[in-house]
């Protein structure tokens, strides 16, 4: 198959899956088979695309706004480039793992509306593929909105009043920022540059004043609500009412990473790192990101609800990625790209563990976890690995991305930000490490100890995925070089 048809297949296939899932609603086993098989196919397609990345194949689907006398047409179209392939690989790989986990979780929990759940999940993955391979800003915007709309039913899955309120916050912030900020930024880019294509080296160079570039960057950064840059982060903790697989895949991988991926792609292919560093348009963004990552870490310290603590941790880690883009140095961009991968594996492990704890022990608070480690050794071992990866300690993958980000701050000469990164790492330790420590080394409170004999781990379908992603974190530490080489080609013109 040509790379062009492969790209189209990567976007269309999950959509077909969604239809099939909806059609197989009455036969759960068949429905789940459909999900898993197409997950495998999708991963295969994306892997095939890795080979063609050097040729940067492009495909145009349709012109949405016809060209006029002085402007080219704006089209929906896809292309294959390293950042997108990397993102698509992570998302499609973790989709399979999450599907396995979700099947175990949803059945173990006896959730309602499972068909709607799996169908929306597939649509969300299609949207992620669209974002990853989008060729221009309009295509990216289209799939960005599709992602918001398709995840809304997932966030409000329980249908309770709290879920609906969270859904309103979710939709309000994500759609609101994208319609007012992102769309305006895209239209402005269109006015300035006369094109919306992603190009190596950027399209805005020579079309903007430094101040204008700064304002435009602000519109992009805050318009991309999914990147959860403070103060637009409220939706992320709110969305934690969703079932855990949703939090895991969507709010550690797909949705939030779609946000930072957008900012990364805009930084690299619309502005171009040269323009950002020479005009100083992104200096303010460095400090906003720095403040965001410190504040979110501090807030995470105060949260007792496990998922909420992880949510604030995510906000903080997303700010690392934004910071890397704002630094606009080679190491910064490489660190950002790498952190998308590393954090995805680390955080999804942590969420999986949170879900497993909920299923097996019905615990949601950090303070209730005392002594659970002996009962659920696999889960908490995986949790420790994931936590190390998020903190950035060897021998887990997260250490590489943090290393490059720190190097980026040195290259840019931003010493205060290097300090911020270090302090934040300490804070990460402070809010993550106590969790497995409590579980392993504290005794279970009297009265609930009876569980220890009767209960064990969560269902196998839940435990296997979290062990897989945890070992993924370790593997990534030793196999970071291919990713590095991959990303290097983005930064070299």
């Amino acid at each position: 198959m040509s790379p062009q048809s492969l790209v189209l297949a990567a976007v269309v296939m999950p959509l077909v899956t969604a239809v099939l899932v909806a059609a197989c609603g009455r036969r759960p086993n068949l429905r789940e088979t459909v999900t898993l098989v197409s997950g495998g196919l999708l991963l295969g397609v994306v892997c095939l695309l890795v080979g063609s990345v050097d040729a940067r194949p492009e495909v145009n689907v349709i012109d949405v706004i016809p060209g006029s006398f002085d402007r080219p047409a704006i089209s929906i179209g896809f292309h294959v480039e390293p950042l997108g392939v990397l993102f698509a690989l992570v998302a499609s790989g973790l989709w399979i793992v999450t599907s396995v986990y979700a099947i175990g979780y949803m059945r173990g929990h006896g959730e309602q509306n499972q068909t709607r759940f799996f169908a929306c999940f597939a649509v969300a993955i299609a949207a992620v593929m669209g974002i990853a391979f989008s060729r221009n800003l309009l295509t990216l915007f289209l799939f960005y909105e599709v992602l918001t709309l398709s995840t809304y039913p997932l966030v409000t899955h329980h249908g309770t009043e709290a879920a609906k309120r969270a859904g309103r916050t979710y939709l309000g912030i994500l759609m609101g920022t994208s319609v007012v900020g992102l769309l305006l930024a895209i239209l402005w880019t269109w006015q300035l540059a006369g094109t919306l294509e992603f190009r190596v080296g950027g399209i805005l160079d020579g079309h903007v004043e430094p101040v204008t570039a700064g304002v435009l960057l602000a519109l992009f950064a805050f318009g991309t609500g999914k990147a959860a840059l403070m103060p637009l982060h409220r939706w992320l903790p709110a969305a934690m009412v969703a079932p855990t697989p949703v939090s895991a895949l969507l709010h550690a991988v797909a949705v939030v990473k779609a946000g930072v991926f957008t900012i990364l792609k805009v930084g690299v292919y619309i502005f171009g790192t040269d323009l950002l560093s020479s005009s100083g348009a992104s200096v303010w963004l460095m400090y906003v990101a720095g403040a965001s990552l410190l504040t979110a870490s501090l807030i995470a310290l105060t949260r007792d609800n496990l998922k909420e603590r992880l949510a604030y941790s995510t906000i903080s880690q997303l700010a690392y990625i934004v910071l890397g883009v704002a630094l606009a140095t080679r190491s910064g961009v490489i660190g950002s790209g790498m952190h998308i991968v590393m954090h995805a594996f680390g955080k999804i492990t942590l969420f999986f563990c949170a879900g497993a704890i909920l299923i097996a022990a019905h615990k949601t608070r950090v303070s209730e976890l005392d002594g659970l480690g002996r009962r659920m050794p696999w889960t908490f071992a995986a949790f420790s690995v994931g936590a190390l990866s998020v903190i950035g300690l060897p021998p887990v993958g997260g250490s590489w991305s943090k290393w490059f980000l720190a190097l980026g701050t040195v290259e840019a000469g931003q010493w205060p930000l290097l300090g911020a990164l270090m302090i934040s790492s300490l804070l990460n330790i402070a809010y993550l490490v106590p969790i497995p420590l409590r579980a392993f080394f504290r005794d279970a409170p009297p009265g609930v100890g009876g569980d220890e004999e009767t209960g064990g781990e969560a269902p196998v379908a839940c435990v296997v995925p979290l062990c897989l992603t945890a070992s993924g974190c370790v593997v990534l530490f030793f196999c970071a070089d291919p990713i590095y080489q991959f990303l290097l080609s983005v930064t070299v013109n």
């Binding site: 016809p66 709309l149 409000t156 609906k164 769309l183």
Partner: protein
């Protein structure tokens, strides 16, 4: 084949068919006949657009009774008129073909033939306005359309419809009177009613219009510099703003749309305000011209703030409505703001955006009212409270509503996005930042009012009394709603037709007038 007689057929066909409906008397026969006429009218309009598009001048002219214009009445159609006619007749055809089912329970069966007769008269009026190239003819057809729509609205099932129709009657008559005064003043100064001729004479000097013999104070003064013409322009604009329901002259619209029979709301929402917008475009750009309207009078200083206020205020009001039809009606007032905003930029891009949105919004809003009609066939309540859990009971109907709602918000891949994109880029073209931001804030408000409906239908469980059984609207109705709203999706992707034609129409308008 010879297509020369199409322009007159377009108007005369529904006009002659209207009394035939009276003679048929039986509801079923009258309905069948009227639907046939509606479909024929649509075919004529489509063929006519095709002929216009392929003609070298991009316009066709028809002399009524072979009396040469400006002495006789001329029907003159260019791409803009062709496009508007297609919209009007398409919506009429769809509305007529499903009207019998929708009328059930709203209008007693023995009055159906009257309904169809009036409906066809209304269609005559609307088609006539768009076809004619004669300003007085516009007034005549406008009166036909208005009077028949008062009657149509008053047929609503409860007595509030009478009040709404009366309110519309009063406001509409004031509007028509203003128009008539404006036309009279223009006629007084130029001695002609033909639009093209008027446009020409307005730029001439008084001396050359009145000839050598007239005793004039200042024969070198161009006609359009006189105070009389200024007054005429003012009367025409205000009169049309009333017909158009431009904020703050919109008060008649929500009541009328909310109480009329649902098929009437479906029809009028997509046609009557759009036709008024068409006339406004004609008067401003074809007759008076860009230079006069925007440089001499400064119309943009009036229209831009009003349009933006309409977008914001009406959207905000829509977000507080509990009744579905009132919600959609206020949304219409807001969308009219978008239309007028495009016009008020007085640029090629702006007018293009206005015309594209005219097309897109007409289909979208008619489709949405039709969805409301679908709901009305299954239950009597049309409030947010009574549609709770409807997503489960009428999945296809509510899915259609979601599509239309996303179109109103302007989500990509719907036609609403295309028009919004064009409008905002037209605003940015001349650095109208504030306007651009406010338009986008308007879409935020649209999210709010659309989402209230979606949340009620999909994410709230019905009261205990409501049954959970699937009970879709009749297939025909559902199909009609999907035809209109499916167009929203198709036109969001294939934009060559709308944007391409609108660009050419805008070129004609701006080129011809300035």
């Amino acid at each position: 084949m010879n297509w020369q007689q199409l322009p007159i057929l377009q108007v005369i066909l529904p006009l002659l068919a209207a009394p035939c409906c009276l003679l048929l008397r039986r509801s079923r026969w009258a309905w069948g006949f009227a639907s046939l006429v509606g479909c024929l009218a649509f075919l004529i309009a489509a063929k006519q657009l095709h002929v216009i598009h392929n003609s070298p001048a991009g316009a066709i002219s028809y002399q009524l009774g072979d009396w040469v214009a400006p002495f006789g009445i001329e029907y003159r159609l260019d791409r803009l008129s062709g496009l508007v006619l297609v919209v009007v007749t398409a919506i009429a055809a769809v509305a007529l073909s499903v009207s019998r089912r929708l009328l059930k329970g709203e209008v007693p069966e023995e009055r159906h033939h009257l309904f169809f007769a009036i409906f066809l008269l209304c269609l005559t009026g609307l088609s006539g306005i768009v076809s004619t190239g004669d300003l007085f003819n516009v007034f005549v057809f406008l009166e036909i359309a208005s009077l028949s729509s008062y009657v149509l609205i008053s047929m609503g099932r409860d007595r509030r419809a009478l009040l709404a129709a009366f309110q519309y009657l009063v406001m509409g008559t004031i509007g028509s009177t203003f128009l008539l005064i404006g036309i009279g003043l223009a006629y007084m100064m130029t001695g002609t009613l033909n639009m093209a001729d008027l446009a020409e004479r307005l730029t001439m000097t008084l001396g050359s219009v009145y000839g050598e013999g007239a005793s004039l104070e200042n024969p070198a003064l161009p006609v359009n510099q006189t105070r009389t013409i200024l007054a005429a322009f003012g009367f025409l604009t205000v009169g049309l703003a009333l017909k158009l329901a431009l904020f703050p002259l919109h008060a008649w619209l929500p009541n009328a749309y909310a109480t009329a029979p649902t098929v009437v709301s479906t029809f009028l929402a997509g046609t009557s305000t759009k036709v008024a917008y068409y006339v406004l475009l004609r008067i401003i750009f074809t007759i008076f011209g860009l230079t006069f309207a925007f440089q001499q009078v400064g119309l943009q200083y009036l229209l831009t703030p009003l349009a933006v206020t309409a977008i914001l205020v009406a959207s905000a009001i829509a977000a507080y409505q509990a009744d579905l039809r009132r919600l959609l009606a206020y949304s219409s007032v807001a969308q009219i703001g978008y239309l007028v905003l495009g016009l008020s930029f007085a640029t090629h891009a702006g007018v293009t955006a206005g015309i594209v949105h005219l097309f897109n919004h007409a289909l979208m809003k008619s489709g949405l009212f039709l969805v409301v009609g679908c709901i009305a066939t299954r239950q009597s309540g049309l409030t947010l409270e009574s549609i709770r859990g409807l997503g489960r009971r009428m999945p296809l109907t509510m899915a259609a509503f979601v599509v239309g709602g996303l179109g109103l918000i302007g989500v990509p891949m719907t036609s609403g996005f295309v028009s919004k994109w064009l409008l905002v880029s037209a605003a940015l073209e001349h650095d109208r930042w504030l306007v651009a931001v406010l338009v986008l804030v308007g879409s935020l408000l649209a999210i709010v009012y659309v989402w209230r409906v979606i949340e009620a239908a999909y994410f709230q469980s019905p009261d205990e009394t409501g049954s959970d059984e699937v009970g879709e609207a009749p297939v025909g109705l559902l199909l009609a709603a999907w035809v209109l709203l499916g167009a929203t999706l198709v036109l969001g992707v294939y934009t060559d037709l709308t944007v391409g034609l609108a660009r050419e129409a805008a070129t004609t308008l701006l080129g011809g007038g300035s």
